[in-house]
Protein backbone atom coordinates (compact mmCIF):
# COMPACT_ATOMS: atom_id res chain seq x y z
CA UNK A 1 0.00 0.00 0.00
CA UNK A 2 1.49 3.32 -1.03
CA UNK A 3 1.85 6.25 1.33
CA UNK A 4 -0.83 8.22 -0.53
CA UNK A 5 -3.31 5.37 -0.11
CA UNK A 6 -2.65 5.21 3.63
CA UNK A 7 -3.36 8.91 3.93
CA UNK A 8 -6.45 8.58 1.75
CA UNK A 9 -7.94 5.76 3.84
CA UNK A 10 -7.03 7.54 7.06
CA UNK A 11 -8.88 10.70 6.11
CA UNK A 12 -11.76 8.85 4.44
CA UNK A 13 -12.35 6.77 7.56
CA UNK A 14 -12.47 9.90 9.71
CA UNK A 15 -14.73 11.58 7.17
CA UNK A 16 -17.27 8.73 7.07
CA UNK A 17 -17.27 8.42 10.86
CA UNK A 18 -17.76 12.17 11.26
CA UNK A 19 -20.55 12.19 8.68
CA UNK A 20 -22.36 9.42 10.57
CA UNK A 21 -21.84 11.26 13.84
CA UNK A 22 -23.25 14.39 12.26
CA UNK A 23 -26.63 12.81 11.49
CA UNK A 24 -26.85 10.71 14.64
CA UNK A 25 -25.76 13.25 17.26
CA UNK A 26 -28.57 14.39 19.53
CA UNK A 27 -27.03 17.75 20.24
CA UNK A 28 -26.98 20.09 17.21
CA UNK A 29 -23.67 21.63 18.36
CA UNK A 30 -22.01 18.21 18.10
CA UNK A 31 -23.61 17.79 14.66
CA UNK A 32 -22.08 21.03 13.43
CA UNK A 33 -18.65 20.25 14.82
CA UNK A 34 -18.79 16.85 13.09
CA UNK A 35 -19.74 18.60 9.86
CA UNK A 36 -16.68 20.84 10.30
CA UNK A 37 -14.58 17.70 10.62
CA UNK A 38 -16.15 16.33 7.43
CA UNK A 39 -15.23 19.51 5.54
CA UNK A 40 -11.73 19.41 6.93
CA UNK A 41 -11.05 15.80 5.99
CA UNK A 42 -12.57 16.23 2.52
CA UNK A 43 -10.25 19.18 2.04
CA UNK A 44 -7.35 16.86 2.93
CA UNK A 45 -8.55 14.41 0.26
CA UNK A 46 -8.71 17.24 -2.29
CA UNK A 47 -5.12 18.06 -1.39
CA UNK A 48 -4.23 14.49 -2.35
CA UNK A 49 -5.75 15.20 -5.78
CA UNK A 50 -3.40 18.21 -6.02
CA UNK A 51 -6.39 20.55 -5.99
CA UNK A 52 -4.72 22.84 -3.47
CA UNK A 53 -6.75 25.95 -4.24
CA UNK A 54 -10.10 24.17 -3.85
CA UNK A 55 -8.95 22.39 -0.70
CA UNK A 56 -7.77 25.56 1.02
CA UNK A 57 -10.82 27.54 -0.12
CA UNK A 58 -13.09 24.84 1.31
CA UNK A 59 -11.46 25.31 4.71
CA UNK A 60 -11.36 29.10 4.39
CA UNK A 61 -14.97 29.58 3.31
CA UNK A 62 -16.87 26.71 4.89
CA UNK A 63 -14.88 25.97 8.01
CA UNK A 64 -13.63 29.48 8.66
CA UNK A 65 -16.76 31.48 7.92
CA UNK A 66 -19.99 29.60 7.12
CA UNK A 67 -19.81 27.00 9.90
CA UNK A 68 -18.75 29.60 12.46
CA UNK A 69 -21.97 31.50 11.75
CA UNK A 70 -23.95 28.23 11.87
CA UNK A 71 -22.44 27.42 15.24
CA UNK A 72 -23.13 30.96 16.37
CA UNK A 73 -26.85 30.58 15.58
CA UNK A 74 -27.23 27.03 16.92
CA UNK A 75 -25.55 27.90 20.22
CA UNK A 76 -28.11 30.63 20.75
CA UNK A 77 -31.15 28.46 19.96
CA UNK A 78 -32.97 26.72 22.71
CA UNK A 79 -33.80 23.50 20.88
CA UNK A 80 -36.28 21.08 22.34
CA UNK A 81 -34.99 17.69 21.22
CA UNK A 82 -38.20 15.80 22.08
CA UNK A 83 -40.22 18.17 19.93
CA UNK A 84 -37.81 17.72 17.04
CA UNK A 85 -38.21 13.94 17.17
CA UNK A 86 -42.01 14.05 16.88
CA UNK A 87 -42.16 14.25 13.12
CA UNK A 88 -39.57 11.52 12.55
CA UNK A 89 -41.98 8.74 11.43
CA UNK A 90 -44.30 11.10 9.60
CA UNK A 91 -41.55 12.55 7.40
CA UNK A 92 -39.79 9.23 6.89
CA UNK A 93 -41.33 8.44 3.44
CA UNK A 94 -40.36 11.86 2.06
CA UNK A 95 -36.84 11.49 3.44
CA UNK A 96 -36.50 8.04 1.84
CA UNK A 97 -37.61 9.37 -1.56
CA UNK A 98 -35.18 12.30 -1.36
CA UNK A 99 -32.27 10.12 -0.35
CA UNK A 100 -33.07 7.57 -3.09
CA UNK A 101 -33.01 10.34 -5.68
CA UNK A 102 -29.66 11.57 -4.37
CA UNK A 103 -28.17 8.07 -4.38
CA UNK A 104 -29.40 7.56 -7.96
CA UNK A 105 -27.79 10.84 -9.02
CA UNK A 106 -24.49 9.91 -7.44
CA UNK A 107 -24.52 6.48 -9.10
CA UNK A 108 -25.30 8.06 -12.48
CA UNK A 109 -22.36 10.45 -12.08
CA UNK A 110 -19.93 7.70 -11.11
CA UNK A 111 -21.06 5.28 -13.83
CA UNK A 112 -21.39 7.77 -16.70
CA UNK A 113 -18.86 7.68 -19.52
CA UNK A 114 -18.95 11.44 -20.02
CA UNK A 115 -16.92 11.93 -16.86
CA UNK A 116 -13.56 10.27 -17.03
CA UNK A 117 -11.52 10.08 -13.88
CA UNK A 118 -8.22 9.98 -15.73
CA UNK A 119 -6.26 13.18 -15.47
CA UNK A 120 -6.62 14.71 -18.89
CA UNK A 121 -3.19 16.30 -19.20
CA UNK A 122 -0.52 17.91 -17.06
CA UNK A 123 -2.27 21.21 -17.77
CA UNK A 124 -2.94 21.69 -14.06
CA UNK A 125 0.21 20.26 -12.55
CA UNK A 126 2.45 22.32 -14.83
CA UNK A 127 1.34 25.74 -13.66
CA UNK A 128 -0.45 24.90 -10.43
CA UNK A 129 -4.07 24.48 -9.61
CA UNK A 130 -4.53 28.08 -8.38
CA UNK A 131 -3.13 29.58 -11.55
CA UNK A 132 -5.14 27.23 -13.81
CA UNK A 133 -8.43 27.96 -12.02
CA UNK A 134 -7.84 31.71 -12.16
CA UNK A 135 -7.05 31.56 -15.86
CA UNK A 136 -10.24 29.63 -16.66
CA UNK A 137 -12.56 31.58 -14.35
CA UNK A 138 -11.53 34.98 -15.70
CA UNK A 139 -11.48 34.07 -19.40
CA UNK A 140 -13.81 31.26 -20.53
CA UNK A 141 -16.22 31.43 -17.62
CA UNK A 142 -16.13 35.15 -16.85
CA UNK A 143 -19.85 35.75 -17.42
CA UNK A 144 -21.18 32.78 -15.36
CA UNK A 145 -18.67 33.67 -12.63
CA UNK A 146 -19.81 37.28 -12.43
CA UNK A 147 -23.46 36.18 -12.59
CA UNK A 148 -22.92 33.90 -9.60
CA UNK A 149 -21.34 36.81 -7.71
CA UNK A 150 -24.30 39.09 -8.47
CA UNK A 151 -26.78 36.40 -7.38
CA UNK A 152 -24.96 36.10 -4.06
CA UNK A 153 -25.03 39.88 -3.66
CA UNK A 154 -28.79 39.94 -4.31
CA UNK A 155 -29.26 37.21 -1.70
CA UNK A 156 -27.30 39.25 0.86
CA UNK A 157 -29.28 42.41 0.12
CA UNK A 158 -32.55 40.46 0.35
CA UNK A 159 -31.60 38.94 3.71
CA UNK A 160 -30.65 42.32 5.11
CA UNK A 161 -33.83 44.01 3.85
CA UNK A 162 -35.99 41.21 5.33
CA UNK A 163 -34.49 41.59 8.80
CA UNK A 164 -34.10 45.37 8.82
CA UNK A 165 -36.51 46.93 11.28
CA UNK A 166 -36.44 50.41 12.63
CA UNK A 167 -37.32 50.12 16.26
CA UNK A 168 -38.12 53.32 18.07
CA UNK A 169 -36.67 52.47 21.45
CA UNK A 170 -33.19 51.39 20.34
CA UNK A 171 -30.49 53.59 21.74
CA UNK A 172 -28.06 53.45 18.87
CA UNK A 173 -25.47 56.17 18.51
CA UNK A 174 -24.61 58.14 15.44
CA UNK A 175 -20.83 58.69 15.56
CA UNK A 176 -20.98 61.36 12.84
CA UNK A 177 -23.30 63.48 15.00
CA UNK A 178 -21.26 62.79 18.12
CA UNK A 179 -18.13 64.11 16.44
CA UNK A 180 -19.88 67.29 15.31
CA UNK A 181 -20.96 68.23 18.82
CA UNK A 182 -19.43 71.46 20.15
CA UNK A 183 -19.00 72.34 23.78
CA UNK A 184 -21.70 75.00 23.61
CA UNK A 185 -24.34 72.44 22.48
CA UNK A 186 -23.92 70.56 25.68
CA UNK A 187 -23.11 73.20 28.23
CA UNK A 188 -24.63 76.61 28.92
CA UNK A 189 -22.71 79.12 30.95
CA UNK A 190 -25.08 81.22 33.03
CA UNK A 191 -23.92 84.24 34.95
CA UNK A 192 -25.50 84.41 38.38
CA UNK A 193 -25.12 87.20 40.94
CA UNK A 194 -22.74 86.01 43.60
CA UNK A 195 -24.15 85.08 46.98
CA UNK A 196 -21.99 87.65 48.77
CA UNK A 197 -23.56 90.57 46.93
CA UNK A 198 -27.11 89.53 47.86
CA UNK A 199 -26.45 89.27 51.57
CA UNK A 200 -24.71 92.51 52.20
Amino acid sequence: MSFELIIFYFFSAIMVAAALRMITAKNPVYSILSLVLVFFTSSAIWLLLEAEFLAITLVLVYVGAVMVLFLFVVMMLNINIAQMREGFVRFMPVAIVVSLIMIAELVLVVVSKELSFERESNFVSEMGNTHALGQILYTDYLLPFETAAVILLVAIVAAIVLTLRHRVQTQSQNPAEQVKVKAKDRMRIVSLPSEDEKKY
Binding site: V29, V59, G64
Partner: protein, 369 residues
Protein backbone atom coordinates in the same frame (compact mmCIF):
# COMPACT_ATOMS: atom_id res chain seq x y z
CA UNK B 1 24.61 2.40 11.36
CA UNK B 2 24.42 4.52 8.22
CA UNK B 3 23.55 1.49 6.10
CA UNK B 4 20.43 0.92 8.23
CA UNK B 5 19.49 4.55 7.71
CA UNK B 6 19.80 4.32 3.93
CA UNK B 7 17.84 1.06 3.88
CA UNK B 8 14.73 3.03 4.84
CA UNK B 9 12.77 4.29 1.79
CA UNK B 10 13.50 7.90 1.00
CA UNK B 11 9.91 9.01 1.69
CA UNK B 12 10.03 7.73 5.28
CA UNK B 13 13.50 9.17 5.80
CA UNK B 14 12.19 12.60 4.74
CA UNK B 15 9.18 12.12 6.97
CA UNK B 16 11.45 11.36 9.93
CA UNK B 17 13.79 14.31 9.31
CA UNK B 18 10.85 16.70 8.87
CA UNK B 19 9.19 15.45 12.07
CA UNK B 20 12.39 16.02 14.04
CA UNK B 21 12.76 19.52 12.58
CA UNK B 22 9.12 20.30 13.38
CA UNK B 23 9.59 19.23 17.00
CA UNK B 24 12.75 21.32 17.32
CA UNK B 25 11.03 24.32 15.76
CA UNK B 26 7.99 23.98 18.04
CA UNK B 27 10.26 23.87 21.09
CA UNK B 28 11.97 27.07 19.93
CA UNK B 29 8.58 28.67 19.27
CA UNK B 30 7.29 27.68 22.71
CA UNK B 31 10.41 29.21 24.25
CA UNK B 32 9.76 32.38 22.24
CA UNK B 33 6.14 32.40 23.43
CA UNK B 34 7.26 32.08 27.05
CA UNK B 35 9.63 34.99 26.67
CA UNK B 36 7.06 37.13 24.84
CA UNK B 37 4.93 36.89 27.99
CA UNK B 38 7.98 38.01 29.98
CA UNK B 39 8.64 40.82 27.48
CA UNK B 40 5.02 41.89 27.80
CA UNK B 41 5.19 42.17 31.58
CA UNK B 42 8.54 43.97 31.49
CA UNK B 43 7.68 46.38 28.66
CA UNK B 44 4.27 47.28 30.02
CA UNK B 45 5.94 47.61 33.42
CA UNK B 46 8.45 50.15 32.13
CA UNK B 47 5.76 52.00 30.15
CA UNK B 48 3.78 52.34 33.39
CA UNK B 49 6.95 53.36 35.33
CA UNK B 50 7.18 50.06 37.21
CA UNK B 51 9.98 47.49 37.12
CA UNK B 52 7.88 44.45 36.28
CA UNK B 53 8.75 40.92 37.46
CA UNK B 54 12.26 40.92 38.99
CA UNK B 55 12.22 38.22 41.69
CA UNK B 56 12.79 34.88 39.92
CA UNK B 57 16.30 34.58 38.55
CA UNK B 58 18.62 37.46 37.62
CA UNK B 59 16.40 40.51 36.88
CA UNK B 60 13.39 38.21 36.64
CA UNK B 61 14.64 36.30 33.59
CA UNK B 62 13.43 32.94 34.93
CA UNK B 63 9.89 34.21 35.58
CA UNK B 64 8.28 32.49 32.51
CA UNK B 65 9.80 29.16 33.54
CA UNK B 66 8.41 29.53 37.04
CA UNK B 67 5.01 30.40 35.56
CA UNK B 68 5.08 27.36 33.28
CA UNK B 69 5.95 25.05 36.20
CA UNK B 70 3.18 26.52 38.30
CA UNK B 71 0.57 26.05 35.58
CA UNK B 72 1.76 22.51 34.79
CA UNK B 73 1.41 21.35 38.38
CA UNK B 74 -2.00 22.93 38.98
CA UNK B 75 -5.13 20.84 38.87
CA UNK B 76 -7.36 21.16 35.82
CA UNK B 77 -10.92 21.46 37.05
CA UNK B 78 -13.78 20.14 34.92
CA UNK B 79 -17.08 21.90 35.63
CA UNK B 80 -19.65 19.17 36.39
CA UNK B 81 -22.31 20.30 33.92
CA UNK B 82 -19.87 21.08 31.13
CA UNK B 83 -19.51 19.05 27.96
CA UNK B 84 -16.38 17.17 29.06
CA UNK B 85 -15.04 16.07 25.68
CA UNK B 86 -15.37 19.51 24.04
CA UNK B 87 -14.09 21.20 27.19
CA UNK B 88 -10.83 19.27 26.86
CA UNK B 89 -10.62 19.61 23.07
CA UNK B 90 -11.15 23.41 22.94
CA UNK B 91 -7.61 24.47 24.02
CA UNK B 92 -6.16 22.09 21.42
CA UNK B 93 -8.43 23.59 18.74
CA UNK B 94 -7.12 27.03 19.55
CA UNK B 95 -3.41 26.21 19.54
CA UNK B 96 -3.17 23.87 16.52
CA UNK B 97 -3.99 26.53 13.86
CA UNK B 98 -1.56 28.95 15.52
CA UNK B 99 1.26 26.40 15.18
CA UNK B 100 0.17 24.85 11.87
CA UNK B 101 0.38 28.14 9.99
CA UNK B 102 4.17 28.22 10.56
CA UNK B 103 4.52 25.40 8.01
CA UNK B 104 4.62 27.86 5.12
CA UNK B 105 6.43 30.81 6.74
CA UNK B 106 9.81 31.35 5.00
CA UNK B 107 12.56 32.51 7.39
CA UNK B 108 14.90 33.35 4.56
CA UNK B 109 15.18 32.38 0.90
CA UNK B 110 14.44 28.63 0.76
CA UNK B 111 14.32 28.02 4.53
CA UNK B 112 10.77 26.90 5.29
CA UNK B 113 8.95 23.66 5.95
CA UNK B 114 6.77 23.66 2.87
CA UNK B 115 6.99 25.95 -0.15
CA UNK B 116 3.43 25.72 -1.44
CA UNK B 117 2.02 27.91 -4.18
CA UNK B 118 -1.08 28.97 -2.28
CA UNK B 119 0.86 29.81 0.91
CA UNK B 120 -1.00 33.03 1.62
CA UNK B 121 -4.38 31.30 1.30
CA UNK B 122 -3.19 28.51 3.58
CA UNK B 123 -2.24 30.99 6.27
CA UNK B 124 -5.56 32.80 5.93
CA UNK B 125 -7.48 29.50 6.13
CA UNK B 126 -5.63 28.36 9.24
CA UNK B 127 -5.87 31.66 11.10
CA UNK B 128 -9.61 31.68 10.41
CA UNK B 129 -9.89 28.34 12.21
CA UNK B 130 -8.55 29.68 15.50
CA UNK B 131 -12.03 30.94 16.36
CA UNK B 132 -13.29 27.40 16.95
CA UNK B 133 -11.18 27.03 20.09
CA UNK B 134 -12.82 30.13 21.54
CA UNK B 135 -16.39 29.23 20.54
CA UNK B 136 -16.14 25.60 21.65
CA UNK B 137 -14.55 26.62 24.95
CA UNK B 138 -17.31 29.13 25.57
CA UNK B 139 -20.09 26.70 24.78
CA UNK B 140 -18.62 23.63 26.50
CA UNK B 141 -18.06 25.52 29.77
CA UNK B 142 -21.84 25.83 30.24
CA UNK B 143 -21.39 29.22 31.82
CA UNK B 144 -23.05 32.51 30.90
CA UNK B 145 -19.89 34.60 30.93
CA UNK B 146 -18.04 32.06 28.82
CA UNK B 147 -20.84 31.91 26.26
CA UNK B 148 -21.02 35.71 26.04
CA UNK B 149 -17.26 35.87 25.51
CA UNK B 150 -17.42 33.18 22.83
CA UNK B 151 -20.20 35.00 20.95
CA UNK B 152 -18.37 38.32 21.07
CA UNK B 153 -15.20 36.72 19.84
CA UNK B 154 -16.90 34.79 17.02
CA UNK B 155 -18.61 37.90 15.65
CA UNK B 156 -15.44 39.94 15.97
CA UNK B 157 -13.14 37.43 14.27
CA UNK B 158 -15.54 36.78 11.38
CA UNK B 159 -15.90 40.55 10.79
CA UNK B 160 -12.21 41.39 10.89
CA UNK B 161 -11.31 38.43 8.72
CA UNK B 162 -13.00 40.18 5.79
CA UNK B 163 -10.89 43.32 6.18
CA UNK B 164 -7.81 41.15 6.63
CA UNK B 165 -8.64 39.12 3.52
CA UNK B 166 -9.05 42.29 1.46
CA UNK B 167 -5.71 43.61 2.71
CA UNK B 168 -4.14 40.36 1.52
CA UNK B 169 -5.90 40.73 -1.85
CA UNK B 170 -3.97 44.00 -2.22
CA UNK B 171 -0.68 42.22 -1.50
CA UNK B 172 -1.35 39.45 -3.99
CA UNK B 173 -2.39 41.99 -6.64
CA UNK B 174 0.90 43.85 -6.18
CA UNK B 175 3.08 40.73 -6.15
CA UNK B 176 1.07 38.61 -8.59
CA UNK B 177 1.60 35.53 -6.44
CA UNK B 178 0.19 33.66 -3.45
CA UNK B 179 3.58 32.14 -2.68
CA UNK B 180 5.17 33.83 0.34
CA UNK B 181 8.74 33.55 -1.00
CA UNK B 182 7.69 35.18 -4.28
CA UNK B 183 5.85 37.93 -2.40
CA UNK B 184 9.02 38.81 -0.47
CA UNK B 185 11.24 38.64 -3.54
CA UNK B 186 8.87 40.98 -5.41
CA UNK B 187 9.58 43.60 -2.74
CA UNK B 188 13.34 43.64 -3.30
CA UNK B 189 15.03 46.98 -3.87
CA UNK B 190 15.34 48.66 -0.48
CA UNK B 191 12.98 50.04 2.12
CA UNK B 192 10.95 52.19 -0.30
CA UNK B 193 10.14 49.15 -2.44
CA UNK B 194 8.51 47.23 0.39
CA UNK B 195 4.74 47.11 0.21
CA UNK B 196 4.13 49.24 3.31
CA UNK B 197 4.62 52.32 1.15
CA UNK B 198 2.45 51.67 -1.93
CA UNK B 199 -0.11 49.73 0.13
CA UNK B 200 0.03 51.95 3.21
CA UNK B 201 -3.75 51.92 4.00
CA UNK B 202 -3.83 48.12 3.58
CA UNK B 203 -0.80 47.79 5.85
CA UNK B 204 -2.54 49.75 8.61
CA UNK B 205 -5.79 47.80 8.09
CA UNK B 206 -3.89 44.51 8.25
CA UNK B 207 -2.14 45.49 11.47
CA UNK B 208 -5.40 46.60 13.12
CA UNK B 209 -7.31 43.49 12.05
CA UNK B 210 -4.34 41.40 13.17
CA UNK B 211 -4.72 42.84 16.67
CA UNK B 212 -8.47 42.19 16.52
CA UNK B 213 -8.02 38.61 15.24
CA UNK B 214 -5.75 37.74 18.15
CA UNK B 215 -8.28 39.20 20.63
CA UNK B 216 -5.66 41.57 22.00
CA UNK B 217 -6.18 44.97 23.60
CA UNK B 218 -7.80 47.30 22.58
CA UNK B 219 -10.05 44.66 20.94
CA UNK B 220 -10.08 42.17 23.81
CA UNK B 221 -13.81 42.29 24.55
CA UNK B 222 -13.90 38.48 24.30
CA UNK B 223 -11.92 38.48 27.53
CA UNK B 224 -13.30 41.73 28.93
CA UNK B 225 -12.34 41.12 32.55
CA UNK B 226 -14.24 44.18 33.74
CA UNK B 227 -17.53 43.05 32.16
CA UNK B 228 -17.56 39.29 31.72
CA UNK B 229 -14.79 38.22 34.14
CA UNK B 230 -12.47 36.53 31.63
CA UNK B 231 -14.81 35.64 28.80
CA UNK B 232 -14.44 32.29 27.14
CA UNK B 233 -11.82 30.85 29.51
CA UNK B 234 -13.41 31.65 32.90
CA UNK B 235 -13.89 27.98 33.71
CA UNK B 236 -10.38 26.88 32.71
CA UNK B 237 -7.58 26.29 35.15
CA UNK B 238 -4.11 24.79 35.08
CA UNK B 239 -2.81 23.57 31.75
CA UNK B 240 -6.07 24.18 29.85
CA UNK B 241 -5.81 27.86 30.75
CA UNK B 242 -2.10 27.89 29.88
CA UNK B 243 -2.73 26.41 26.42
CA UNK B 244 -5.15 29.26 25.62
CA UNK B 245 -2.43 31.70 26.55
CA UNK B 246 0.17 29.86 24.51
CA UNK B 247 -2.20 30.04 21.53
CA UNK B 248 -2.75 33.77 22.01
CA UNK B 249 0.96 34.55 22.11
CA UNK B 250 1.78 32.13 19.28
CA UNK B 251 -0.82 34.01 17.24
CA UNK B 252 0.79 37.34 18.08
CA UNK B 253 4.16 36.07 16.86
CA UNK B 254 2.51 34.63 13.74
CA UNK B 255 0.68 37.85 12.83
CA UNK B 256 3.87 39.87 13.43
CA UNK B 257 5.88 37.51 11.22
CA UNK B 258 3.23 37.73 8.50
CA UNK B 259 3.17 41.53 8.64
CA UNK B 260 6.96 41.51 8.32
CA UNK B 261 6.76 39.16 5.32
CA UNK B 262 3.89 40.79 3.47
CA UNK B 263 4.51 44.49 4.02
CA UNK B 264 8.05 44.85 5.33
CA UNK B 265 10.06 42.74 2.91
CA UNK B 266 10.65 39.74 5.18
CA UNK B 267 14.34 38.87 5.23
CA UNK B 268 15.33 41.66 2.79
CA UNK B 269 17.70 44.34 4.00
CA UNK B 270 16.44 47.95 4.13
CA UNK B 271 19.83 49.11 2.77
CA UNK B 272 19.46 47.09 -0.41
CA UNK B 273 19.05 50.08 -2.73
CA UNK B 274 21.67 52.29 -1.09
CA UNK B 275 23.64 52.59 -4.35
CA UNK B 276 20.95 55.06 -5.48
CA UNK B 277 21.89 57.37 -2.58
CA UNK B 278 25.46 57.67 -3.83
CA UNK B 279 24.33 59.58 -6.92
CA UNK B 280 22.99 62.48 -4.80
CA UNK B 281 25.31 65.48 -5.40
CA UNK B 282 27.67 66.55 -2.56
CA UNK B 283 26.26 64.11 0.06
CA UNK B 284 26.82 61.12 -2.23
CA UNK B 285 30.62 61.39 -2.09
CA UNK B 286 30.64 61.48 1.70
CA UNK B 287 28.16 58.60 1.88
CA UNK B 288 30.45 56.57 -0.38
CA UNK B 289 33.40 57.19 1.94
CA UNK B 290 31.26 56.33 4.95
CA UNK B 291 30.04 53.04 3.45
CA UNK B 292 33.49 51.97 2.25
CA UNK B 293 34.85 52.59 5.78
CA UNK B 294 31.89 50.76 7.33
CA UNK B 295 32.29 47.71 5.11
CA UNK B 296 35.92 47.29 6.22
CA UNK B 297 34.67 46.14 9.65
CA UNK B 298 34.32 42.33 9.54
CA UNK B 299 30.77 40.86 9.31
CA UNK B 300 29.19 44.25 8.62
CA UNK B 301 28.47 43.30 5.01
CA UNK B 302 26.71 40.13 6.20
CA UNK B 303 24.69 42.06 8.78
CA UNK B 304 23.67 44.76 6.31
CA UNK B 305 22.74 42.21 3.61
CA UNK B 306 19.52 40.23 3.39
CA UNK B 307 19.15 37.41 5.92
CA UNK B 308 16.97 35.87 8.61
CA UNK B 309 18.20 38.42 11.17
CA UNK B 310 16.20 41.15 9.39
CA UNK B 311 13.10 38.95 9.51
CA UNK B 312 13.66 38.47 13.23
CA UNK B 313 14.17 42.19 13.85
CA UNK B 314 11.02 43.15 11.92
CA UNK B 315 8.94 40.46 13.63
CA UNK B 316 10.19 41.59 17.04
CA UNK B 317 9.25 45.17 16.20
CA UNK B 318 5.65 44.19 15.46
CA UNK B 319 5.48 42.04 18.60
CA UNK B 320 6.63 45.13 20.51
CA UNK B 321 3.83 47.11 18.81
CA UNK B 322 1.26 44.59 20.09
CA UNK B 323 2.50 45.12 23.66
CA UNK B 324 2.72 48.88 23.15
CA UNK B 325 -0.92 49.02 21.98
CA UNK B 326 -1.99 47.16 25.09
CA UNK B 327 -0.27 49.66 27.34
CA UNK B 328 -1.59 52.66 25.41
CA UNK B 329 -5.19 52.23 24.27
CA UNK B 330 -8.31 51.79 26.38
CA UNK B 331 -10.61 48.94 25.40
CA UNK B 332 -13.12 49.58 22.61
CA UNK B 333 -16.80 49.23 23.29
CA UNK B 334 -18.36 46.27 21.47
CA UNK B 335 -20.50 48.27 19.01
CA UNK B 336 -17.50 50.51 18.26
CA UNK B 337 -15.48 47.44 17.30
CA UNK B 338 -18.16 46.31 14.89
CA UNK B 339 -18.48 49.79 13.40
CA UNK B 340 -14.71 50.08 12.92
CA UNK B 341 -14.54 46.70 11.22
CA UNK B 342 -17.48 47.01 8.87
CA UNK B 343 -17.85 50.73 8.23
CA UNK B 344 -14.24 51.94 8.32
CA UNK B 345 -11.72 49.20 7.57
CA UNK B 346 -13.61 47.34 4.82
CA UNK B 347 -14.43 50.49 2.78
CA UNK B 348 -10.80 51.66 3.15
CA UNK B 349 -9.51 48.36 1.75
CA UNK B 350 -12.04 48.39 -1.10
CA UNK B 351 -11.05 51.93 -2.13
CA UNK B 352 -7.35 51.13 -1.97
CA UNK B 353 -7.74 47.93 -3.97
CA UNK B 354 -9.41 50.05 -6.67
CA UNK B 355 -6.61 52.65 -6.52
CA UNK B 356 -4.05 49.87 -6.72
CA UNK B 357 -5.82 48.31 -9.70
CA UNK B 358 -5.65 51.66 -11.54
CA UNK B 359 -1.96 52.01 -10.56
CA UNK B 360 -1.20 48.54 -11.91
CA UNK B 361 -3.06 49.27 -15.15
CA UNK B 362 -1.13 52.57 -15.55
CA UNK B 363 2.12 50.80 -14.49
CA UNK B 364 3.02 53.38 -11.86
CA UNK B 365 6.69 52.95 -10.95
CA UNK B 366 8.72 51.81 -9.12
CA UNK B 367 6.25 49.34 -7.59
CA UNK B 368 3.86 48.29 -10.32
CA UNK B 369 5.97 48.41 -13.50
Amino acid sequence: MMSYWYAIPELYRDLFITSVLVVVFLLVLMGAVAYVTFAERKIIGYIQVRIGPNRVGPRGWLQPIADALKLLTKEMILPRKSSHFLFRVAPVLSIVPALGAWAVIPFTEGVQFSDINAGLLYVLALTSMGVYGVIVAGWASNSKYALLGALRSAAQIVSYEIAMGFALVGVLMASGSLNLTDIVNEQSGGITHWYWLPLFPLFIVYLISGVAETNRAPFDVAEGESEIVAGFHVEYSGMGFAVFFLAEYANIILISALTALLFMGGWLSPFEGYAALLSIPYIGVHLFEFFSLLLKIPFVDVLLGAGPHWFLIKTSFFIFCFLWFRATFPRYRYDQIMRLGWKVLIPVTLVWIFVEGVAIAMQVGPWFD
